[in-house]
């Protein structure tokens, strides 16, 4: 039976194939929020946008740092909340171009 994947370590983020060990290492290297863990490891950056893993990672973060779970906020949400085609966005430029520009620039210039 092929258990090679299991031996490499337990995956926590399956979209980006990030292991539990990598997440723990990121925390040891100083990450204190889900966003920082995401920036370092890509955990939560895949197609599901952390819908599967963010709860698991929150628990690991709480365990490693002693930060109370109710203080660990999601990594942050910004549009689009669901995957949508670039072509749809391009077509929508006239309708919401100004709004998008405003919102995206404010979101990404944090």
């Amino acid at each position: 039976m092929d258990n090679s994947k299991n031996e490499q370590g337990k995956l926590v983020c399956r979209c980006e194939e990030v292991t539990e060990e990598e997440v723990r290492q990121a925390i040891k290297d100083g990450a204190k929020t889900l966003r920082e863990i995401k920036m370092i490891t890509r955990a939560g950056m895949g197609l599901c946008q952390g819908r599967s893993c963010s709860k698991i990672i929150s628990l690991i973060l709480a365990e490693e740092t002693g930060i109370s779970i109710d203080k660990i906020e999601p990594a942050g949400y910004r549009p689009p909340l669901r995957p949508i085609a670039i072509s749809a966005l391009a077509k929508a430029k006239k309708k919401i171009g100004k709004k998008l520009k405003y919102k995206f620039s404010s979101a990404y210039n944090e």
Partner: protein
């Protein structure tokens, strides 16, 4: 630009109930849902719901969803399916339908986006065949695809117990339900339904590892301590081709984070939820919430919250005067109070009740040995439910105004008609005739598996834990419209087993297994 007075995100029980309530008083309402079917999770809930008549107790979830949708349409609500809400810009929602982006301008927004399933990470958890229990339920009840043949269910809350039962109905073998907590989290009646069909519930157990090449083939389970750490040398290897994870839900709050609503963490309610007032209005004026996104509860509660949000939104638009709105909200709040009565805190019966003339407690029924069929009510947990009371034409069953009371049975007027057996959403009522013949007793069971047994057929009679007791002979099978696909199967068994037998297994169950519904 799509313009409306009220935009609702999510066409599940909360969203549709909100839509109905606000449209009824004249609001213009549009509901958006990313799925192509209305009703949210109700669309695959093929079991009968608990509650009271007002909550549509005894009706299957799927039919509640259809009713709500029909009602919403008849009230002029526009329901846009297959439409994804993906952004919120300057008080307007951005949606995409058929690869076309639209902007929605609404005076009020009700967010009823529901929840998402939690996962559990253990070595091998990404192997094909391991999925959320809700996902498995979608596969079998919506798309008619059996997720696997040998299934291990993880989690003994209501979701795990209900879906384990539905997997049995669909023809899968459920090897066991494992639950890390020391006791079963879901309703006892749901647990009983699978136990008596031979599914063991292993509390204090967890999944340690899944093994397999192309997909899961084996799973290692182990016992855990109260801190959920694995007890060494308790590991067991089990063959399984599917593992279903029913380990809780998380409110799907991403849109509310985007709107910058104030959030707070409530572990009992599934995680971060928006702060709201009595009107279900968030910290941002004009943005309301209802259903699981406001905290994980169940569908009847979601509908009541939807009603409150819907009427509050309509009220703030001036469609209903506040006195009238107050009345509707009060009614919904009372209903919520009833539904939220925690089983463990439900008022127990007083000693006086137990010994009232002619009224006896369930556990005492078995001492009665009268001729003819009498109901045996095996409902020993205070859950919010009373269809047995409302269905009885002769007033023999009493639950009372506190909906979580245990049913009391007055046998004086009971005719043994069996309506209560069909009405009980928990399938916890049986009819027993101890003196069916000289040597035999007859027991009538609620039965929801296909194919139905036939009159004269020999079946295996099972006890409450699904172990074989004896052989039984089917006396008759009744399928009525009122029973809504729950059949009454009456079997004859040797008298001495009358108090043991609570289920049957047909000997040809393996030949043509098919899902109910």
């Amino acid at each position: 630009m799509i313009e409306t007075e009220i935009a609702i995100v999510g066409a599940g029980p909360a969203g549709l109930a909100a839509a109905c309530e606000s449209a009824q008083v004249g609001s213009k309402v549009i509901v958006f849902d990313e799925n192509n079917h209305p009703g949210g999770q109700l669309v695959k809930q093929i079991h009968k719901f608990f509650g009271s008549k007002e909550h549509l107790a005894g009706v299957r979830g799927i039919d509640i969803g259809k009713k709500l949708y029909k009602r919403a349409l008849s009230l002029g609500v526009e329901v846009r399916l297959g439409t994804v809400v993906w952004g919120y810009f300057e008080n307007q929602l951005a949606v995409v339908f058929n690869n076309q982006v639209e902007v929605v301008s609404a005076k009020k927004i009700i967010v009823a986006t529901g929840a998402l399933e939690n996962t559990l990470s253990f070595p091998g958890w990404t192997l094909p065949g391991i999925m959320g229990a809700g996902g498995a339920q979608t596969l079998m009840n919506l798309y008619r695809i059996l997720p696997g043949k040998k299934v291990l269910m993880v989690g003994a809350g209501n979701v795990g117990l209900i879906i384990a039962y539905q997997l049995l109905q669909a023809g899968a073998e459920v090897i066991a339900v494992v639950e890390a907590a020391p006791k079963i989290g879901g309703y006892k009646v749901h647990a009983d339904k699978i136990l008596r069909n031979g599914v063991p519930i292993l509390t204090g157990h967890t999944v340690k590892e899944a093994l397999g090449k192309e997909r899961v083939e084996k799973v290692i389970i182990a016992q855990v301590r109260s801190d959920f750490s694995i007890i060494p040398e308790t590991e067991r290897e089990i063959d399984a081709d599917t593992i279903c994870l029913a380990v809780g839900l998380t409110p799907l709050t991403e849109l509310l984070w985007l709107m910058e609503c104030e959030m707070r963490y409530e572990s009992d309610l599934g995680g971060f939820i928006p702060v709201r007032n009595k009107n279900m209005e968030t910290s941002i004026s004009g943005i309301y919430i209802a259903g699981d996104v406001a905290g994980i509860e169940e569908a009847s509660i979601a509908m009541e919250e939807g009603r409150i949000a819907g009427i509050a939104a309509a009220e703030s638009l001036g469609h209903i005067i506040s006195d009238k709105a107050r009345m509707i909200k009060n009614r919904a709040e009372e209903s919520l109070l009833q539904l939220r009565l925690n089983p463990s805190f439900a008022p127990r019966m007083t000693e006086k009740n137990k010994t009232n003339n002619g009224i006896i407690k369930n556990s005492q029924i078995e001492i009665l040995n009268r001729n003819g069929s009498i109901p045996i009510i095996e409902c020993n947990e205070c859950i919010p439910c009373n269809p047995c009371e409302t269905v009885c034409l002769f007033g023999c069953i009493q639950v009372g105004t506190t909906i979580t009371n245990l049913p009391l049975l007055n046998l004086d007027k009971c005719t043994g008609c069996g309506q209560c057996v069909l009405a009980c959403p928990g399938l916890a009522i049986f009819l027993l005739d101890r003196n069916y013949s000289k040597d035999e007793a007859a027991i009538t069971l609620p039965y929801e598996f296909l194919p139905l047994p036939k009159k004269g057929e020999k079946v295996i009679a099972l006890d409450r834990n699904g172990s074989k007791v004896c052989e039984g002979e089917v006396l008759n099978v009744i399928l009525t419209k009122k029973g809504d696909r729950t059949a009454l199967v009456k079997i004859a068994i040797p008298k001495e087993h009358a108090d043991k037998v609570r289920s049957i297994k047909t000997t040809r169950l393996d030949s043509g297994k098919e899902g109910e519904n």
